[in-house]
């Protein structure tokens, strides 16, 4: 399939979906509106809501807050994951002792921690960051742990035979290997940072995209809920594109599965 055909088909899906949505929510079929506006709103209302947010500039503040929370959650969660991942991988006894507790905490659906975090850190930025951190930490931790463990013995022996001491092995062998595993999960961990922020906002806050959606829902403003969802997914897609760019720069040494023309 050529690029043009593919792109036009992709656009077609969006157009048809929106057209059907608009049609069934405004035009009665056999005397009955299939998608009652109260529950489903309609694309035009949703679109004008989005335009209003951007033209008045209200949205920027909320986007900035969510972005900031996501960044903090990602940075803190990653730093913690890298430290503990390295520590556990280099000290198998420590890893063995903590193993059941790591599994236990990781098995817990993180959403239930949100109220506790709200209690501990208040309704501001930090309770959302804490929620995001608990999500990001485990992704990074498991990958760094695996990355350090999975260094091929031959590569390690080669480093030793070339004269590397433990510190140099750390820098030239373990660290790049761990980092490559961490970056391979970058999309997931960044995504989880955003999830933590938005869910946290949704459950109690005064700003952010999650707050916006929650507010709209509170007054049965379905157009607002949908508008918030669309802005949120556009926001996540943009962040994901950024991650892809960073990834391509940092992991040039890895074979790319996609062939270049």
């Amino acid at each position: 399939m050529s690029r043009v055909t593919l792109l036009s088909l992709q656009v077609l899906v969006a157009v048809v979906t929106l057209a059907l949505w608009q049609l069934f929510s405004t035009v009665p079929v056999f005397g009955k509106v299939l998608l009652p506006p109260f529950f489903f709103s309609n694309p035009i209302d949703v679109f004008s809501q989005i335009v209003k947010w951007f033209s008045t500039g209200v949205i920027w503040k909320h986007l900035a807050i969510t972005l900031w929370e996501s960044i903090l959650a990602f940075v803190i969660g990653s730093a913690g994951g890298i430290l503990v991942g390295f520590w556990f991988a280099r000290q198998p006894r420590v890893a063995a002792v903590f193993d059941p507790y790591v599994k236990m905490v990781n098995a817990l659906p993180r959403v239930v921690l949100a109220p506790i975090f709200a209690l501990w850190f208040g309704l501001g930025v930090w309770s959302k960051v804490a929620l995001g951190v608990t999500l990001v930490f485990f992704i990074v931790f498991f990958n760094v742990y695996q990355g350090v463990k999975e260094v091929p013995t031959t590569v390690l022996d080669n480093g030793r035979m070339l004269g590397m001491n433990e510190r140099q092995l750390m820098r030239h062998v373990y660290w790049p290997s761990a980092l490559s595993w961490m970056f391979s999960s970058l999309h997931t961990s960044v995504g989880f940072a955003v999830v933590g922020a938005v869910v946290g906002e949704y459950l109690g806050s005064a700003a952010g995209l999650g707050y916006l959606i929650q507010q709209a829902e509170g007054v049965f403003d379905v157009a607002g809920v949908f508008a918030g969802m669309f802005v949120l997914s556009a926001f996540v897609i943009l962040i994901d594109m950024g991650v892809t760019m960073v990834e391509n720069r940092l992991l040039v040494w890895r074979p790319t599965p996609v062939t270049r023309d």
Partner: protein, 273 residues
């Protein structure tokens, strides 16, 4: 030379044993006596799984013998063998470093300034025929090119002893010959002591000054030691056509053949068990 210089590698009754998962002790190599003189190229040949690599790892200091001693230039070996460079069978390049960084790293970690290390690495890449590939990552190179980088990576540190574990094993026949000639060319420039492990008798005879034969494992022993008097410089492909080569090959193969068969039978039994 052997008179004035101490022996580069001397294994004296070296026995290597491993404890298996079920608690039994598996003796890989038993009572091996092996010496490599300064500037001498020794090839170890034996059937698959006979412990050739084990012996090499003992010489490298990656493994400790259960009994017996390893002496390097007349000093008992403790810890890693700092005089040795090791060319591994599997890919051992750092995949996250470019070819030139892979070669330069051996100098950088000993404190050579980066600019100087890179300049010397570039020279080494050129002498293994990869001058134009300095900025490629290992995954962008072919198997043969990766071996060339690995060779440069080891040689840049100018080790007095070169340990090679079936280094050309994964390569195709033509590339092996080219690599063999490259190795001989680089080696003849400054005659390091070489311990070269292979399962390919022809390769061993074509390259080495001495060919050492090991019996099938477990408890493999050294069962033969031949001096290869073929004149140097040699061309790997052409030396195989010579009469003396055939005579040597026939003689050594007569001993090796039985061991290869034993090794084969054992490996099939182990597979069935």
């Amino acid at each position: 030379m052997a008179m004035t210089e101490p022996t580069a590698v001397a294994l004296d009754s070296a026995t290597v044993a491993f404890r298996l998962a079920d608690g039994r002790v598996y003796t890989a190599v038993e009572q091996a006596n092996l010496s490599v003189d300064h500037g001498e190229f020794v090839a170890i040949v034996g059937p698959t799984g006979c412990g050739k690599s084990t012996l090499l790892n003992v010489t490298a200091g990656l493994l400790k013998p259960a009994a017996g001693t390893a002496r390097i230039f007349d000093k008992p070996l403790s810890g890693l063998n700092r005089d040795a460079g090791y060319l591994f069978q599997a890919d051992a390049l750092f995949p996250w470093k470019t070819a030139i960084d892979n070669v330069a790293i051996g100098l950088e970690i000993t404190g050579t300034p980066r600019a100087e290390a890179l300049a010397r690495a570039q020279k080494w890449l050129t002498s293994v025929g990869l001058g134009a590939f300095a900025n490629r990552y290992p995954h962008m190179l072919s198997g043969g090119q990766r071996k060339r980088v690995a060779l440069a990576q080891v040689l840049i540190r100018d080790p007095k002893i070169l340990l090679m574990d079936e280094p050309f094993g994964p390569l195709d026949a033509q590339t092996r010959q080219i690599m063999g000639n490259l190795l001989l060319e680089l080696w003849s420039a400054d005659r390091k002591a070489v311990l070269f492990v292979t399962h390919d008798l022809e390769e061993a005879i074509a390259l080495a000054d001495r060919v050492v034969i090991m019996s099938a494992g477990p408890s493999a022993r050294i069962i033969g030691d031949w001096r290869i008097t073929l004149p140097r410089p040699r061309d790997i492909a052409e030396v195989r056509m010579e009469k003396d080569f055939h005579a040597l090959h026939r003689e050594i193969w007569g001993v090796l053949k039985d061991e290869v068969m034993k090794g084969y039978v054992q490996s099939t039994q182990a597979g069935a068990a």
